[in-house]
């Protein structure tokens, strides 16, 4: 009799798989129901960037991942497709209680111009923004870091020559002046407005006899140096005259430039995330573009050997990419 009673009770008390499933779904439904207000009250950071094809997408995805890592779960991504609308973006910003926007790339910059609320913005994924009103981190490598690496490679270098288009690189070259002094380097600048003018300047530079202890810095600006003509000329002349050339483009290293420093996108994202947190807390004063200091290094072993730069395998390990394939 007792056994029968127990059986009877247990058939009511033991939760069947069916009722367990119902309970779980119920709980989930409840969580979903209450979740928007929970998230909505937390001021958040948006990362807004164009959805690109592989492999381009990896650049912005990595920056976004870096931002997310730093802001610890308070970041949302908005990927811009061709047919996105300003209303869509503004609704999304309001719904997610976005208080700071990190915009990436040209598309990101264009999109934040369509925001109706006055939200603090950080810009990245570009060399220089179209509009001067935004602050952020440029993809142009920090001259300070470039010069420090140059000195590490060849301590005899006393002078850095840069040919630049002021419309594109004035802000960077201005900063480079003080960075050069810090690294015991003299920065010699030449302004250009076109590739033909650049070609003439580079011809003059290489015709001088006093460039032995000089290095040439190629700014991230295709109006002052192009791959087809001017870079080819620079590589030919620098090889013949043993002149060090460095840049912000890993492709230049593949072609024969000694080294290049370029953004470590995840770490760049983390730095952006730190600035975004500051802005959330009303502390940040980052109102201008600064060059990226989170950098990777590409190195050309063949050029280094030609220049007589001594290195061991330990030295090679600190580079993120070593060119060329033999």
């Amino acid at each position: 009799m007792i056994i029968e009673l127990n059986k009877h009770l247990s058939s009511h008390l033991i939760i069947s798989p069916y009722s367990l499933r119902k309970a779980v779904w119920g709980l989930l439904a409840f969580l979903i129901f209450i979740s928007p207000p929970i998230f909505a009250v937390t001021p958040s950071v948006a990362v807004i960037y164009p959805e690109l094809r592989a492999p381009y997408n990896k650049i912005y995805d990595d920056i976004a991942t870096g931002v997310e890592t730093k802001v610890n779960g308070r970041a949302f991504r908005f990927k811009l497709t061709k047919n996105f609308s300003a209303k869509q973006l503004n609704d999304w910003v309001a719904r997610n209680n976005i208080k700071v926007c990190v915009a990436l790339g040209k598309g990101g910059e264009k999109a934040i111009g369509q925001l109706t609320n006055d939200i603090p913005v950080l810009l990245s994924g570009v060399i220089k923004p179209k509009s001067p009103i935004y602050g952020g981190i440029s993809l142009a490598a920090s001259p300070k870091k470039l010069f420090a690496e140059l000195k590490k490679q060849n301590s005899k270098i006393k002078q850095v020559i840069v040919v630049y288009n002021p419309k594109k690189s004035e802000w960077l070259v201005r900063q480079a002046q003080s960075d050069a002094v810090q690294n015991n380097l003299q920065l010699v600048t030449y302004m250009t407005s076109s590739l033909s003018e650049s070609a003439k300047i580079y011809r003059d530079i290489f015709s001088r006899s006093d460039i032995t202890n000089s290095a040439i810095w190629l700014p991230p600006d295709t109006t002052s140096v192009d791959n087809r003509t001017i870079l080819s000329f620079i590589l030919e002349q620098s090889w013949a005259k043993n002149v060090t050339v460095f840049s912000s483009s890993p492709a230049h290293v593949n072609k024969g430039v000694l080294f290049a420093m370029y953004a470590d996108n995840k770490k760049l994202g983390e730095s952006l995330g730190a600035y975004a947190l500051d802005k959330l807390n009303g502390r940040s004063k980052l109102t201008k573009m600064i060059p990226v200091e989170d950098l990777k290094i590409a190195f050309n072993k063949r050029t280094a050997e030609h220049l007589g730069i001594k290195f061991r395998s330990d030295d090679l390990r600190r580079y993120d990419a070593v060119f060329p394939s033999k």
Binding site: E51, R53, K58, T81, K106, T222, W239, A251, D320, K326
Partner: protein, 692 residues
């Protein structure tokens, strides 16, 4: 053949509908991409800079590297299609199983043991006949990160069989796969492919996993006459039989300095091509299981200036018969000492089966503590054994005319034996001056069954200008006699001989790498080789052959614009059989290959390629006319414009439906298959892949 149910047409159609319904438009803004290109240079550099790819460093040899991106562009679904595009390498076919013959620079033999194939640097060559397997069945490409092909000798580094060339297949690691990828492909000849890849971090380990399936009926071109035609018992005219079911899976687990890899290449229902005995056999089927595993420890800084790698690896490979192999059709006779033997009412049946396993142990150190020198040295030990031989035949003296198991009797085709090899090598890369580098290396190998051998190599590299590098290379290599050459028995046309020396080759090369423009790369390689002690069955295996050859390869790679590139090569070789003073034959004297990749709209790639195989002479004594040249045009259209997650491709192979043949071999009474071995006519496939 069984069909995988998830690969049927309805499934593919539903997938396609699903894509077009759910896919979002990727931004695909050329302006946006252009801005990134301005900074990074090109897509390849973006992949390197973002960690999706590594710059490829090559040995100072004449090498080609084909990346996963190249493989996709050329529309290859099997490595043989990839290898055919390498300058100086032509993939011919063997009648039995239509197994590939990788012909480097005129070095052609039917069994093709003069080529070393490595997967992640570990040999997969078999002991039995020295090839990759007689039940090869191809190799899928989805899990391949890149293929490095070294033309010329490599024994100073790789040891035995790195003779005419080395093919090293590097598989994808976790970072390269980065997530999941699923794909399926349907094509002509009832071909169904499916694959799944995973790469990511699991419990603190970097894990890469791949599984690839192929089920195909294979091409079915006709041959008109075969080895049994003369007896009047032939099944020709009839179609070749090239069906197979393949399953390839690989796993790689990495943590800190340790890497464990394992894999299986399973072949089932593998058909016999133009026949194991060069007589059509529509029912015979074989299978093979090739298991591999390795544990590798690599510490680049174990001591100051010392990089150390230690590795143990294992390979177990089999050749099994699942349906009786018909060496000659019903009613055939076998040649006898006085009168023909037979007839065999059910045909001449022979079912040879072999299982072998290989253990390899090696330690390599790279020391950079001396100025201007990089010294690489290592030692190793290999134990290989044919541990099981099964043999069933109906022409054994034990029970003539009746299918009888002769395994473990003196009447079997091969005894069970082992081979041990110890080796040591030393190589120095010496930076003589700023623009001159000398690589000198020497390797010593000692074998329990044929003695020892020393193999040197030297490479002098001169960075002549900023855009020109010249290399002068010399190398010697050896090819270990296969177990069939050493120990074949009870085979009247191929009898083993345990008193064989290894084959040897000496090669001298001069190579130029010239980059006259930012967007143009040119390469020119000149070579001369001397191949000695060639082992031939006469019918007893003997070191009787000698061959000499010379030639050149010219390559170009031109990025015409950001969206258009053209690349190709022309290869010429002239090889002479020194025993007859006649052309060595079979291999093409001239080859030309050109491929274009054109991104005509963002995310839309059109990649046509055209391959010309020309001037293949017959061997001395073969009365047939020289084999006709052929050219094959393929085109592939691929897009990921709809979504980053989905990719669609269609491809037409041999679009112009050209007739093409590979040479069949000449015999004592003429060629068994006089009309040569037909290749596939026009075929198409469609493919869908998804990643996240």
């Amino acid at each position: 053949m069984k069909h995988f149910i998830f690969l049927n047409y309805k499934f593919i159609l539903l997938n396609l509908i699903f894509i077009f319904c759910v896919s979002t438009n990727a931004y695909s803004d050329f302006d946006e991409e252009e801005a990134l290109i301005e900074l990074y240079g090109d897509e390849e550099i973006i992949s390197i800079a973002t960690g999706s790819a590594q710059p490829i460093s090559r040995a100072p040899a004449v090498a080609s590297v084909i990346t996963a991106k190249d493989i996709k562009e050329m529309g290859a679904t099997d490595i043989d299609e990839v290898l055919e595009t390498v300058p100086g390498l032509h993939v011919a076919r063997r009648a039995a199983g239509y197994t590939p013959i990788y012909t480097f620079r005129g070095v052609f033999t039917t069994e093709n043991p003069q080529v070393l194939m490595l997967v992640n640097g570990i040999s997969i060559n078999n002991l039995f006949v020295g090839d990759r397997s007689q039940v090869w069945g191809g190799m899928p490409v989805e899990a391949i990160s890149r293929i490095e092909v070294i033309r010329g000798p490599g024994s100073a580094v790789y040891g035995a069989d790195a003779f005419a060339g080395v093919i090293n297949i590097i598989t994808k690691e976790a970072a390269e796969i980065d997530g999941f990828e699923f794909g399926s492909r349907l094509g002509s000849f009832d071909t169904r492919d499916a694959w799944a890849l995973y790469g990511g971090e699991v419990g603190g380990f970097d894990v890469a996993f791949s599984a690839e399936f192929r089920d195909t009926d294979g091409q079915d071109e006709d041959i008109n006459a075969d080895a049994a035609t003369i007896q009047g018992t032939s099944l020709a005219p009839g179609s070749v039989n090239t069906g197979t079911q393949n399953f390839d899976t690989r796993l790689s687990i990495t943590k800190n300095n340790w890497k464990f890899r394992a894999g299986l290449q399973k072949r089932q229902n593998f058909e016999t091509g133009a026949g194991v005995g060069e007589a059509l056999d529509p029912n015979g089927e074989l299978e093979s299981d090739r298991w591999n595993a390795d544990l590798t420890y690599h510490n680049p800084t174990i001591r100051k200036d010392l990089d150390l790698t230690a590795q143990v690896s294992f390979l177990n490979t089999s050749q099994e018969v699942s349906e009786d192999i018909l060496l000659s059709p019903p009613g055939s006779f076998l040649p006898g000492p006085i009168v023909p033997l037979g007839p065999f009412p059910e045909g001449v049946i022979g079912n040879p089966e072999v299982w072998e396993r290989h253990w390899r142990y090696n330690i390599t150190g790279v020391f950079t503590g001396f100025n201007n020198h990089t010294i690489r040295s290592g030692i190793g030990y290999t134990h290989q054994e044919v541990y099981r031989v099964e043999d069933e035949r109906n022409f054994s003296p034990l029970n003539f005319g009746v299918l009888t198991d002769v395994s473990d009797t003196p009447f079997a085709f091969l005894p069970e034996k082992h081979r041990n090899n110890s080796f040591a090598f030393l190589q120095d890369v010496w930076q003589i001056s700023n623009d001159w580098e000398l690589t000198a290396g020497l390797r010593y190998d000692d074998y329990n069954d044929f003695g020892d051998t020393w193999n040197p190599r030297a490479a002098l590299v001169w960075a002549a200008r900023h855009d020109l590098t010249a290399k002068l290379l010399y190398g010697e290599a050896f090819r270990a006699p296969s177990f069939a050459e050493f120990r074949n028995q009870n085979n009247p046309v191929a009898i083993g001989n345990d008193d064989l020396d290894p084959e040897e080759i000496e090669t001298l090369e001069l190579a130029f790498d010239y980059r006259p423009k930012d967007n143009l790369k040119l390469g020119l390689n000149l070579f001369r080789y001397k191949w000695d002690d060639i082992i031939r069955f006469t019918p007893v295996a003997q070191n009787v052959g000698e061959q000499e050859g010379y030639g050149f390869e010219f390559e170009f790679d031109w990025k015409v614009s950001r969206t258009l590139k053209i690349l190709g090569n022309f290869a010429h070789q002239n090889s002479e059989d020194e025993t007859t003073d006649e052309d060595a034959g079979n291999a093409p004297e001239n080859q030309f290959y050109v491929r274009t990749d054109w991104e005509f709209k963002p995310g839309w790639h059109l990649s046509p390629q055209w391959n010309f195989v020309m001037d293949r002479n017959r061997v001395d004594g073969d009365a047939r006319d020289d084999i006709d040249d052929y050219d094959i045009f393929d085109v592939t259209l691929r897009t990921n414009a709809f979504s980053n997650r989905w990719e669609l491709a269609v491809s037409a192979r041999n679009l112009f439906n050209k007739r093409a043949f590979e040479p069949s071999q000449n015999g004592a009474f003429g060629a068994a298959i006089p009309g040569d071995l037909p290749l596939a006519r026009r075929s198409v496939w469609g493919e869908l892949r998804f990643n996240y």
